[in-house]
Amino acid sequence: MSDIQPPEIRDHADPVEPQYATIKMYASREDIYPREVTGFFANWRWACVWLTQLVFYGVPWLAWNDRQAVLFDLAARKFYLFGIVLWPQDFIYLTALLIICAYSLFLFTTVAGRLWCGFACPQTVYTEIFMWVERKIEGSRSARIKLSKQNWTLAKVSKKCAKHAIWLGIALWTGISFVGYFTPIKTLMQEILLVTLGPWELFWVLFYALATYGNAGWMREQVCKYMCPYARFQSVMFDQDTLIVTYDQQRGEPRSTKTAKNPVLGSCIDCSICVQVCPTGIDIRDGLQYECIGCAACVDACDTVMDKIGAPKGLIRFSTANAIKNNLSEQQVLKSIFRSRVLIYSAILVVIVSVLAINLLTRVPLKLDVIRDRGSMGRELNEGVIENVYKLQIMNTAEANHIYRIKVSGLDSIRLDSPDQIELPGATTKAIPVRVHVDHDHGKQGSNKIWFQLEAIDNPALQVKEKAVFIIPHN
């Protein structure tokens, strides 16, 4: 801010006392009453609301072979995802998932700013749902402002109570749905109906419900402005070619309420509807601000107004800093999307998604760890046979019972001196000691590479191979 001037020294003799003001570093929030908005982007937002919430509320109710299709069983440390059961050893998939989420965010943000924030973020989605309830009960923006200004009458109390009751209902259902991902939701419903909910389940249902109610009902834009970390660092992914919500100053100014037909005046008729619809309470005509979540409500609102006064749409539109500065056409803006940064993000994303998909599709629900006995290197038996002992940690991560055959290979005359078949029930692990024998005159002194192989008898595709070391003692 270069326009801060020290108090001017006037011409006359005594200088003016500098004036001081006390400012508050913490101020109470000014209420925002967003006006209802309809249009192209609003429809997209509602589509996102429906899509995300159908998935969120619906998925726990899907069944898969007598169990819940998607269940994160923390106590048993098993994650069920439709046909796949993930164990703690599969943690790497979560890493891949998080990387995919991160790069998707980078990609969207680079292309079109805070798209995630404006359209798909749970904070936006639940706020949208809660505001819809609010509108249905308290009425339009002007009615809501009037209601909050008037004294507490019976009508006002009943409206407020109804609103909060419905909000709490939605929030509670959200909390139950959330916990339903960790405790089978049908069991959960039963426990709720019979009032036998465990203390932790109760805590998480209420915690998630109250967080939903508080964030979407009371906090709203403050979550994005003061609490959200993504909001803070998304700005560094912007560049001059990022699509942002812009106000076309050249076309709009000078604004005037008189008429838009006057050629001297700009198209903006200063109706302030773009300010009224903004969920974060900013005026987009002041340029890009950190509060803007790119929800494009002002775009829809302004387009409606422009239609009414017979001016072309797009006074407020998605455009880029470059386009505004250099008057680029839409074609050129579209072209600038395919810049190196976007292409690199896309390429990385495609690679990681493909690797994850291939890995998941070719995943064998069987794991084997070979642990050498540390107490003994290699034993020499009396018959001129060398013996090594291993512990095989076998994990049957499938849900069905299997009998596995154990094979060992890698040296001449190598063979097992313990049972070569083991039966494991579904989703169990077992450690078995195995003895491996090699005749005296095979292999070299020291360590020899060998392989253990497990194969399900009923399904040869179910097999894993693990490296191990066979030690032949020095004479």
Binding site: S2, V16, T22, I23, A27, R29, R435
Partner: protein, 315 residues
């Protein structure tokens, strides 16, 4: 918290902690408002307060965008929380906290929960005959898991033993292979000691002769002439290993008339054993595992060398 060399440090840390928290409160209180010099327009009328008055790098001002009020209350809450926490839990130097919480207490609590859950299971086996426990398939699985966790380090995953650690799958026992003897071994441990006999036996050649005689007892490869010379010197060994080297389970003295060797059956190894003696320890597990788990373990170990009897019992 007896980690300090003197009481001073505990008090020092406590004082620092308290002062820091109070300092946070003071800072919050004094910084909640700011006095700002405001610019005036040409007529001396005050303009709006645009910045907080801080200036960096000559022209970089901090805009006057106040945080929401609830943010300040969160700070206040954390200060209150800190006070309550430090009263209840350890955190102020050597002060142990009102609740007397300790991480070791957490461990004991979890142990208690586990004991309450699995105790009855083990308790059930404690009142059964060891051979009956050995024939119980579930007990066998538990025993195998316990063995792999607590015993496999020395005796091997397959219980075949290693140099200095007996094989538990054969019928050759140092102290006896009856189920209750095995249980005693695990409960109270064993101390196997063979004194150094080199001086008693005599010269190096005489020790070699005795070693050849020992080899002859189990029909291993030996020099018959040297063995014959060594036979008379073997009298020094009979006290423990008995005549003919059949061993003595009361003392834990190994039998020398079989081909099973604890330390190895080569001539050099036997000579080393005679010259220097051997010392060996099996640790006691009574306090560490408790009798109920030892019961299951003993049954499992006994079952390793008595599979035929168990199969018969299961039928």
């Amino acid at each position: 918290m007896a980690d300090f060399t003197s009481d001073f440090w505990g008090a020092y840390i406590a004082l620092l902690t308290v002062l820091s928290i109070i300092g946070c409160g003071v800072l919050l209180w004094t910084q909640a408002t700011a006095k700002v010099k405001i610019s005036t327009d040409a007529n001396g009328e005050p303009g709006p307060v645009e910045t907080t008055g801080h200036l960096w790098d000559e022209d970089l001002g901090e805009l006057n965008n106040p945080l929401p009020r609830w943010w300040m209350w969160l700070f206040v809450l954390t200060i209150i929380f800190g006070g309550i926490y430090l009263y209840l839990y350890p955190g102020l130097g050597t002060y142990a906290g009102k609740l007397g919480w300790q991480s070791s207490g957490q461990y004991q609590k979890e142990l208690k929960i586990a004991d309450a859950e699995y105790g009855p299971l083990f308790e059930k086996y404690l009142h059964q005959d060891l051979k009956a426990v050995a024939a119980d398939p579930q007990a066998h699985l538990i025993g195998e898991r316990l063995f792999l966790t607590y015993c496999a380090q020395c005796h091997g995953s397959d219980a075949h033993g290693n140099k200095g650690f007996p094989n538990l799958t054969d019928k050759d026992w140092l102290y006896g292979g009856a189920p209750d003897v095995i249980k005693t071994t695990i409960m109270y441990g064993r101390n196997g000691q063979m004194p150094p006999m080199g001086a008693v036996v005599g010269t190096d050649d005489e020790v070699r002769n005795v070693a050849h005689y020992v080899l002859s007892l189990s029909g291993s490869t030996h020099d018959p002439i040297k063995a014959a010379f060594g036979k008379s010197k073997f009298t020094a060994c009979i006290g423990c290993h008995s005549a003919g080297g059949i061993g003595n389970q009361a003392l834990g003295a190994p039998a020398l008339n079989d081909k099973i060797w604890l330390y190895g059956g080569s001539l050099d190894t036997i000579m080393e054993t005679i010259n220097k003696g051997r010392k060996n320890t099996m640790p006691p597990f009574k306090d560490f595992l408790g009798e109920a788990k030892v019961q299951v373990l003993a049954a499992y170990v006994w079952s390793l060398s008595n599979e035929a009897e168990i199969k018969a019992a299961q039928k």
